[in-house]
């Protein structure tokens, strides 16, 4: 008797273990909303987004323009970034993706390559001149098609503690060479402080820095992809940060940790290479130092240059599963080009708009609360946004980003060669493309 009991228990727990191990894949079978509607009558659309406050912005549409056009949009709040990409792909596999989705620019090739997002060139093509060329190009992937409407962008900038820079007699670096000198000078004056840290837990930062240096990670020639993650520009960037970490001029611990928050809040780290959305992060990470920070353009690789990278930013795309693509495209265009919509997005969601005309109007005529000491914050930001370098995303950015975290995390920890980590990133990305059957040129 005890034997049978034990056996039964065993079967159950063994089965549970299988279930847990397979749980991840089993989830893939779950579907989503039903989007079948009569195209001629009133239309209702589902929109997956992670932007906070988006429901309030969509309310504007549903009560105004949308009411006129009989197009009702429902917001379904989602997890951000890559998690949503996976969810969209899974839903698309079941033919049940929502009508509209939010997608980061670097995720668009993945979505396009899975045939998950539709070409809406004929519906939104006119919106092209509302955006900077480099931004718009990310939604076309260099083709005649248009796969999304840009929503927000993340031009990169240099943030620093103005008071501490003054105290230690540091100059705001205009070039990366000066940036390194500044880091060393600070170490000499205050050995327990760091200018900043090299963090390996957000691949977007490194991608943006490489982009500024002129890296083109994914390009096409004919029917083949070319991966240039270890190109000269990226090697320069990797080498630069690797040397700083190695000589101990900057910290090597990840950002977004309680320790990092404390370092920013107490002035242990006195600068941060970030993007236009930094005020929001600093407000929560370093509340005590409000009004002590200042923003400047990103350091340049040479005096004559004036270029920045982008870190973050997303777009609104229409899925191929949508039964009302024209209506969905109409909403996507309204959301990201209409003055009222953009004002509401800025106010409710705190995004920095991709639309150039919106960058200096409405909410952006006054500086963010955290930077009240810098009245021209958004004027400067708009100028910097104009200098954003073009980016080149490919169909497996997710793989490159994942490899970055592990390879550079290890290199930063060991203070070892960043070039080797970059090589790993290149190799893994190429191997994954080849495994999937893409043609890759050397």
């Amino acid at each position: 008797m005890p034997n049978t009991k034990r056996r039964r228990l065993f079967v159950r727990s063994a089965a549970t273990s299988v279930a847990v191990a397979l749980g991840a894949t089993a989830l893939a079978a779950c579907g989503s909303e039903d989007a079948s509607e009569d195209p001629s009558g009133p239309v209702s659309l589902t929109y997956w987004t992670w932007t906070p406050g988006m429901d309030k912005v969509v309310d504007l549409w549903n009560k105004g323009q949308g009411k006129k056009d009989q197009i009702t949009v429902t917001v379904k709040k989602q997890a951000s970034g890559d998690t949503l990409v996976t969810k969209i792909l899974t839903a698309h596999k079941a033919g049940k993706a929502p009508d509209l989705v939010q997608a980061e620019y670097q995720a668009l090739p993945t979505l396009v390559s899975n045939d998950a997002v539709a070409d809406i060139a004929s519906e939104v093509g006119d919106a092209k001149d509302k955006f900077a060329e480099g931004v718009w190009q990310q939604t076309t992937l260099g083709t005649d098609a248009v796969y999304a409407v840009p929503q927000d962008i993340g031009p990169m900038m240099f943030y620093y503690r103005a008071d501490l820079f003054k105290q230690y007699g540091l100059k705001v670096p205009a070039t990366w060479e000066e940036f390194a000198e500044t880091a060393r000078a600070l170490k000499k004056k205050a050995p327990d402080k760091d200018l900043t840290t090299f963090s390996a837990n957000d691949s977007g930062l490194f991608a943006g820095l490489a982009q500024q240096a002129g890296a083109k990670w994914w390009t096409t020639s004919g029917d083949k992809w070319k991966v240039g993650i270890d190109d000269a520009a990226s090697q320069k960037v990797a080498g630069f940060w690797g040397d700083l970490v190695k000589e101990g001029a900057i910290d090597n611990q990840p950002m977004y940790t309680p320790a990092w928050n404390k370092a920013l809040n107490t002035g242990k780290q006195i600068a941060w290479v970030s993007a236009v959305w930094a005020p929001g992060t600093l407000t929560t990470a370093a509340p005590d130092t409000k009004g002590k920070w200042a923003m400047a353009p990103l350091p340049q690789w040479s005096d004559s240059e004036n270029v920045t990278g982008s870190w973050g930013g997303s777009s609104t795309a229409v899925t191929t599963d949508s039964k009302n693509k024209a209506a969905a495209a109409k909403f996507a265009a309204w959301l990201n080009t209409d003055g009222d919509a953009l004002n509401a997005l800025a106010k409710e969601s705190g995004i920095y708009p991709a639309s150039t005309s919106a960058q200096l109007s409405g909410a952006f005529t006054t500086p963010p609360d955290y930077f009240s000491n810098q009245p021209d914050f958004y004027t400067k930001a708009a100028e910097i946004a104009e200098t954003t370098a073009p980016s080149a995303w490919g169909p497996n950015v997710n793989v490159a980003y994942t490899t970055f975290k592990d390879a550079f995390g290890k290199a930063a920890k060991d203070k070892s060669d960043f070039a080797a980590a970059l090589q790993t990133m290149q190799d893994d990305t190429v191997a994954d493309l080849e495994k999937q059957g893409f043609e890759v040129s050397e």
Partner: protein, 311 residues
């Protein structure tokens, strides 16, 4: 005549009718997803050309490719070794403490037993992710109160989130969270031991230590086997603790444990096929290990019983 046969039929069909709901649920929510995962594990995606646009991506038969890839993947093997190292700390320490606490609570001279029992059990009620966050906070030198005290005392401040100490740090979270549960399991079976046994032992002049070693531990052996069995499975499936600690340190990679690798491949890299194959391998390994352990434990039990009979 008719009524008898109908009754006979009804009796014959009854067990199946009772089984039906369970069978349907099992098939729908258990066999089917597992079957689908196994089906996925034998497939892969094949892209043609640049892979942009409709119909560029096809699901094709992969044979054993995903399995050979998984088995030759150093990262998966390394992950398994890391988990082995972690398990070698967690399982003995956790079960040792659980047994010790259970024996102490069961002894006659204990005071404040209900409170102590609850205090030891309480961490089990805290979700793993919350526990890991909590401990992660305590492990970070810049924010931990422990490091503050160590610094004031002029003592060395080890980096707990790197190298060897990282295993201790992770194990500590599991031990802290799991000891209470295992203690309750063992304690409950200690309570079930009939009082006559103790009385007899006392009459024979056995000391409390002898009672514990010679009577209590052998009599709760089945519970020990059970807790050991659960602990092995839990160890093999460690996921939330390292995942939660990962953003705090460069030392925990996204593929630190085998299940993290499965998650990473499925949701980070979007390769559900490879992830399905790895999940199947982990499930099989879990089955083999736990089944092997149970069989070994059963065999020993039987030997003990027969020896006991001979004596």
């Amino acid at each position: 005549m008719t009524s008898t046969s109908r009754r006979a039929y009804g009796v014959k069909g009854a067990p199946y009718a009772f089984l039906l709901p369970a069978t349907i649920l099992f098939a729908l929510f258990f066999a089917l997803p597992i079957g689908y995962a196994i089906w996925l594990s034998f497939h892969k995606v094949k892209v043609s050309g640049l892979g942009l646009g409709a119909g560029a991506r096809k699901e094709v038969w992969a044979g054993l490719e995903n399995y050979t890839d998984a088995l030759t993947d150093n990262e998966l093997v390394d992950g398994a070794l890391r988990v082995l190292g972690y398990g070698c700390i967690v399982v003995p320490v956790m079960l040792g403490l659980a047994l010790l606490f259970a024996l102490m609570l069961d002894s006659e001279k204990v005071r404040l037993a209900p409170f102590t029992r609850l205090a030891i059990f309480l961490p089990y009620a805290i979700p793993g992710v919350v526990a890991a966050l909590l401990w992660g906070f305590l492990y970070l030198p810049d924010v931990s109160p422990f490091y503050y005290v160590l610094e004031k005392l002029g003592m060395p401040q080890p980096d707990l989130l790197d190298g060897g100490p990282l295993y201790l740090a992770l194990s500590n979270i599991a031990v802290w969270g799991g000891t209470g549960f295992n203690m309750i399991v063992i304690y409950t079976s200690l309570q079930a031991i009939p009082a006559e046994v103790y009385e007899a032992a006392k009459l024979d002049g056995a000391t409390p230590l002898q009672v514990a070693l010679k009577i209590k531990i052998p009599m709760v052996a089945p519970s020990l086997v059970l807790t050991f069995f659960f602990s092995i499975i839990a160890t093999l499936q460690v996921f939330s603790e390292p995942t939660t600690l990962k953003p705090l340190t460069n030392s925990v990679s996204t593929t630190w444990s085998p299940l993290m690798k499965v998650y990473q491949d499925a949701f980070g890299k979007g390769d559900i096929y490879a992830a399905a194959a790895q999940a199947t391998i982990i499930a099989l390994a879990t089955l083999l290990l736990s089944f092997g352990f149970l069989r070994a434990a059963n065999r020993r039990n039987k030997q003990d019983v027969s020896q006991g009979g001979a004596r």
